[in-house]
């Protein structure tokens, strides 16, 4: 504690809560900001509307199990089917927790406390990861609870459920690291939203073109690699490799751990982009 000049104010003599506490506080604050909690009603509309849309297939699935005794939607395909909603959620809410701090240049203020860059970025990525994980895990858990209560024929699909939860976590880490890395490149929220969704659409729209072209030229083995361009299919490919689920793409994925390696590389790239970006932003 450096004292420049003691002008007689009362000193703080309460407990010093330290870095872990401030990082945790920042994480919780960011997580609340993702859902617009503690902000105006207007900023709650978008995240909650998207969360409700994510829940709809779960409700339909439970109704189908209760009424006709059949599973409407597998656990392993939930995130892939709802990928547009998740992408919009990431694009619209990611910049909301990243952009204001950059735009109003308050980063040096954060860093004047015992929070370092690593902890600041870690808190933001953790918050976004938790939010995305909740978006997928809550509907999955609802379906699983419904399945237990309705008591369908055969054993409950506990393994599939837990596998889907694990993959939801991988997907959330990949999406949030990548989405926040893109969003952090601009201090303007609107531009951040546009760039995140542009990258997602670029990836998802080029898949059918790559796939269709390679199939029509008879390159079936190469065509399977085309799916991995889209992050949602990429994580599904990891799921197929790890848990041996049915692929959600036509024609399957390239075998082996290649997809998992790509996921790890992508996360590493995104984290280093974030590190570089924030090292510069901290000195501004």
């Amino acid at each position: 504690m450096s004292e420049i000049y003691d002008i007689g104010y009362r000193h703080y003599d309460g407990p010093r809560l330290g870095r872990a506490y401030s990082t945790r506080a920042l994480t919780v604050h960011s997580l609340r900001a993702v859902f617009g909690l503690g902000r105006t009603a207007r900023s709650k509309i978008m995240p909650f509307a998207l969360a409700v849309i994510m829940l709809l297939p779960a409700v339909v699935s439970i109704a189908a199990m209760a009424l006709i005794g059949q599973r409407a939607m597998g656990y392993s395909s939930y995130a892939v089917i709802m990928q547009a909603v998740l992408a919009i959620f990431l694009a619209s809410q990611g910049p909301a927790i990243i952009a204001p701090d950059l735009r109003f240049r308050v980063l040096p203020l954060y860093l004047s406390r015992p929070v370092s860059i690593v902890e600041y970025v870690g808190a933001k990525v953790t918050a976004m990861t938790a939010a995305l994980f909740l978006m997928v895990a809550v509907p999955l858990t609802l379906i699983y609870l419904g399945e237990l209560l309705i008591d369908l024929e055969g054993p409950p699909q506990t393994k599939e459920y837990l596998g889907a939860l694990a993959m939801a976590l991988v997907l959330a880490v990949l999406l949030s690291a990548f989405g926040l890395a893109i969003a952090s490149l601009t201090p303007r929220r609107g531009l951040g939203v546009a760039s995140v969704i542009a990258v997602y659409l670029l990836a998802s729209a080029s898949v059918p073109i790559f796939y269709g072209t390679l199939i029509s030229t008879g390159n079936d083995a190469a065509a399977r690699w085309a799916w991995l361009v889209n992050p949602f299919w990429l994580v599904d490919a990891v799921q197929v490799w790890l848990f041996d689920t049915t692929p959600n793409s036509e024609g399957g994925y390239p075998p082996g751990p290649a997809s998992a390696a790509i996921v790890v590389v992508l996360i590493a790239v995104a984290v280093s982009v974030l590190a570089l970006r924030y090292r510069k932003a901290a000195s501004q």
């Binding site: 547009a84 073109i209 029509s216």
Partner: protein, 238 residues
């Protein structure tokens, strides 16, 4: 038109690194076209796939969104629009100038790359390249007007625009026939169909509906933006 306002807007959209966002998609489109040409599938069928799915279906609404909201939404967001509005320039003129800037950027970044990529694949065959370029140009003008209006009406212009482009035009348009009638992409395709004679291209919407609809959307969008700007009040950040 006010040339000073136009110059400022061009600089705001193209200055610094923001031009990369605008250039990303057209570069990807031309890159995909080159790739298709390299693997030897430069036939009309894959050209249609590239044009419909990528050029008209993805690139055009996204660029329309970036350019249309980009000419005005950032200024509203950080409050600098007040400097523009306090000048003795009529608000409808501001709206029209911003619209012209957005539309010209869409012509440059959407229509021309569409022509180039189709031309790379099939040359001037059956007027495909010209048809899609004109379709992209006209639809780009309509998108510029729609998203300009959206940028003035709401702070969440980009997100709402994405939901419109993704959910309405792609998802609902895919299932519900009637929704296709009210989709800018379909209007673009019916214009492309009119110019091109390729058998692979069939439009769902007649030209008699598409052309008036495009004109109405554009004129109403620009006019209403001017009206909104006249009664515009700045609200604080959330």
């Amino acid at each position: 038109m006010n040339t000073v306002v136009a110059g400022i807007t061009y600089r705001a959209l193209l200055g610094r690194r923001r031009i990369f966002l605008l250039a990303l998609l057209p570069v990807a489109l031309i890159g995909l076209a080159l790739l298709l040409r390299l693997v030897g599938s430069d036939d009309q069928r894959s050209t249609m796939l590239l044009m419909e799915k990528f050029a008209i279906g993805t690139m055009l609404p996204l660029l329309g969104l970036i350019a249309g909201t980009g000419v005005i939404a950032p200024e509203i967001d950080d409050g600098t629009i007040i400097h523009l509005m306090s000048k003795p320039i009529s608000r409808p003129v501001i709206a029209r100038t911003k619209f012209v800037v957005a539309a010209s950027l869409l012509a440059l970044f959407a229509a021309i790359p569409t022509f180039v990529s189709a031309w790379l694949l099939v040359g001037n065959e059956d007027g495909i390249a010209l048809g899609f370029a004109v379709g992209a140009l006209v639809a780009g003008i309509a998108y510029a007007a729609i998203f300009l209006l959206l940028g003035v009406v709401t702070r969440h212009a980009v997100t709402i625009g994405i939901i419109y482009a993704l959910v309405w035009e792609s998802l609902i348009g895919g299932f519900v026939q009637g929704a296709r009638k009210f989709s800018v992409q379909q209007w673009a395709e019916s214009i492309a169909d009119q110019i091109s004679t390729s058998p692979f291209l069939t439009a769902d919407v007649t030209l008699g509906f598409a052309v008036p609809a495009l004109i109405v959307v554009t004129v109403v969008g620009v006019f209403w933006t001017g009206r909104r700007l006249r009664v515009f009040s700045l609200t604080g950040d959330e």
